[in-house]
């Protein structure tokens, strides 16, 4: 029997985080995602072999639109797994979740479908948050741990209303001053398959643990493509990081040295790497749970606008750079 071709393929990379990934997959499933049809999208799970694996049967029972793949990986980077996932995608638009430990809110698929209607080459970025009081590397000193997180999650009954995750979360390290100011990266980012192809998929030079800065590299590369005219942020949606033994988010004495190496690699590729400074188009409703973060974001955006205006710096330099590069279509944004 021929299955209909989905409109969106979501690639999610899993390594040594079975419990967290099951939560993430449930949050992506049609039982939890609202206002969509299961046939609209597919979820491609790529798991690198470890001692703490997902139960394939249990995964596939979550939804008919989940496809599970397990693979051997000798290296420490998720990049080959990502590219393996890309190869499996059947849809013209791809969502990339490099870290399988990130649960999402209930309308990310609905809104991404809308963005796709507006522009098939739209880039859609979902802002990041952390479950708990802070980034994972500070968890220990704040006496926060997996047991506390698990208890908190079960109390929230998030399966019934995923927006409640905002109530037990803090703003993410990739967007520490909110969702209107520039995002360093997004751990749940959508773009057309063509766009991913054009940036050369995931660059296999990124061989460091966790891929090093590959996600930052992908995010900026996508955002700077001439095709990516429409750059959307979902102000009321989120991806929430769960505690796990991840690389940059875990406490480790070698953290600083490692981050330096990650940054160096990025600068080698970009000259001086800078985060994507483009004006985001907001898309979607903002629930009561997300509204405190939007208020925070508006406040922080005003502070940034004032600071840049005082210095006479354009608010969105990458919009200007893209226009100069590709030739102005329509009038420039003052």
């Amino acid at each position: 029997m021929n299955q209909p071709i989905p409109k969106i393929s979501v690639v999610i990379i899993v390594y040594n985080m079975a419990r967290q990934a099951m939560n993430t997959l449930y949050s992506l499933s049609p039982e939890y995602q609202k206002n969509i049809d299961a046939n609209d999208y597919e979820i491609i799970v790529v798991e690198n072999h470890s001692c703490n694996m997902l139960d394939k049967q249990q995964v596939e029972m979550l939804s008919p639109n989940i496809r599970y793949f397990c693979r051997e990986e000798k290296g420490v980077s998720p990049v080959p797994a990502i590219n393996f996932g890309f190869q499996k995608c059947r849809a013209p638009m791809i969502g990339l979740m490099i870290d399988g430990a990130r649960m999402v809110t209930p309308r990310i698929i609905e809104y991404t479908l809308m963005a796709q209607h507006i522009d098939a080459n739209a880039v859609v970025a979902v802002p990041g948050y952390n479950l708990g009081p802070a980034e994972q590397q500070y968890a220990e000193q704040l006496n926060y741990n997996e047991a506390i997180e698990t208890a908190m999650l079960s109390k929230t009954n998030w399966q019934k209303n995923g927006y409640r995750l905002f109530d037990i979360s803090s703003i993410g390290g990739a967007n520490p001053t909110g969702v209107i100011n520039p995002l360093m990266e997004s751990n749940c980012v959508f773009a057309s398959k063509k766009s991913f192809e054009k940036i050369g998929w995931a660059d296999e030079q990124f061989t460091y643990p966790g891929g090093g800065s590959v996600n930052l590299h992908i995010f900026r590369s996508l955002g700077m493509l001439p095709e990516s005219n429409a750059y959307f942020i979902l102000p009321g949606e989120a991806s929430f990081h769960q505690l796990h033994g991840g690389v940059t988010t875990a406490n480790s004495s070698q953290r600083e040295a490692m981050l330096k190496k990650f940054a160096q690699q990025l600068n080698n590729l970009w000259g001086v790497f800078s985060v994507l400074k483009r004006e985001p188009i907001l898309l979607g409703a903002v629930t009561s749970h997300a509204q405190p973060f939007l208020k925070f974001s508006a406040d922080e955006a005003m502070i940034r606008f004032d600071r840049l205006s005082e210095k006479g710096v354009d608010h969105w330099v990458d919009d200007v750079a893209r226009k100069q590069k590709i030739g102005s279509q329509g009038k420039p944004y003052p």
Partner: protein, 329 residues
Amino acid sequence: MKAPLKISVIVIVYRMPRQAINTIYSLSALHQRNIKEEEYEIIVVENRSENMIDQQQLLALGKNIRYFSREESGHSPAAAINYGFSLCRADYIGLLIDGARMVTPRVLEYALQAKSIDKNSIFAVPGYNLGAEKQHIDSHYSEEKEIRLLSKTNWQQNGYRLFDIANIGEANPRGFFQPFMENNCLFSSLGSYENIGFADENFHFLGGGGLNLHMFRLLGTLANAPYLFVTPGEGSFHQYHGGVSTTPRADREEILAPPRKQLVSYWGGDTFKALQREPFLLGAVNSHAQKFLLYSSQRALKRFERKTRNNEPFWPSDFKQKRYTEHFS
């Protein structure tokens, strides 16, 4: 063959030539970004008075402007609106019932985006007033003051500067996350306008009385209108022009009472209730508009807290729709 028009915008004008020229400029391709002149048309319908638009000046603003003047013996714009509807060549229509409302530069770009998502839904641009205070309260505010304010702003170069000299509008006084009473820059499909019977000509009072409130609520109540799109970073700005509800005058309440009664008689209850649907944000919010996003967000939090405390649903008008929005109660 020419590509079909994507949007028709109807602007109703009566005795406000200076203001209307500003409005049409703000809607023209000289000011609107990321949309081409040939993609839309502006239909100006003017009811005849002793103070008319200079047609030549108007038509010089763009090849996509069509001007019609007509006789009107009544006091309501309803017939002019319906005349405007009959002239539209696009299947997606913007309605500005009050020609004195200037708009920001990406209203049409985002309207097109909303159309591509769902053309039968409402796309609403929040309202603001030029000046520091509400125009019907500030007796020191005058047309001369406004002209000076506008000319200092150089809004023609960057329409977003209008936010710097404006205050939040009466139709959405608590920001755009709270229910709108009405909307003065409203887009939907020709089919949706047809479904609500276009502009009901029974609204014969001065300025149409409650007509605009009535149309907004009807459009928002249509079963096949799944979204209420709202632009957080765009606005329509009311210019002073001696309009019915926006001018300070002693008999304001007296004048407003009969139209209110008419509206209530249509919808039942003791007072007219605003449409309570979850707003769906669409569009960027630049530095000029950001303070209004902050204000709206603050007010939204207060409303959510109150509704939660009282165990009331956040968006009761959504219950007709099949899609999920944030339900509380």
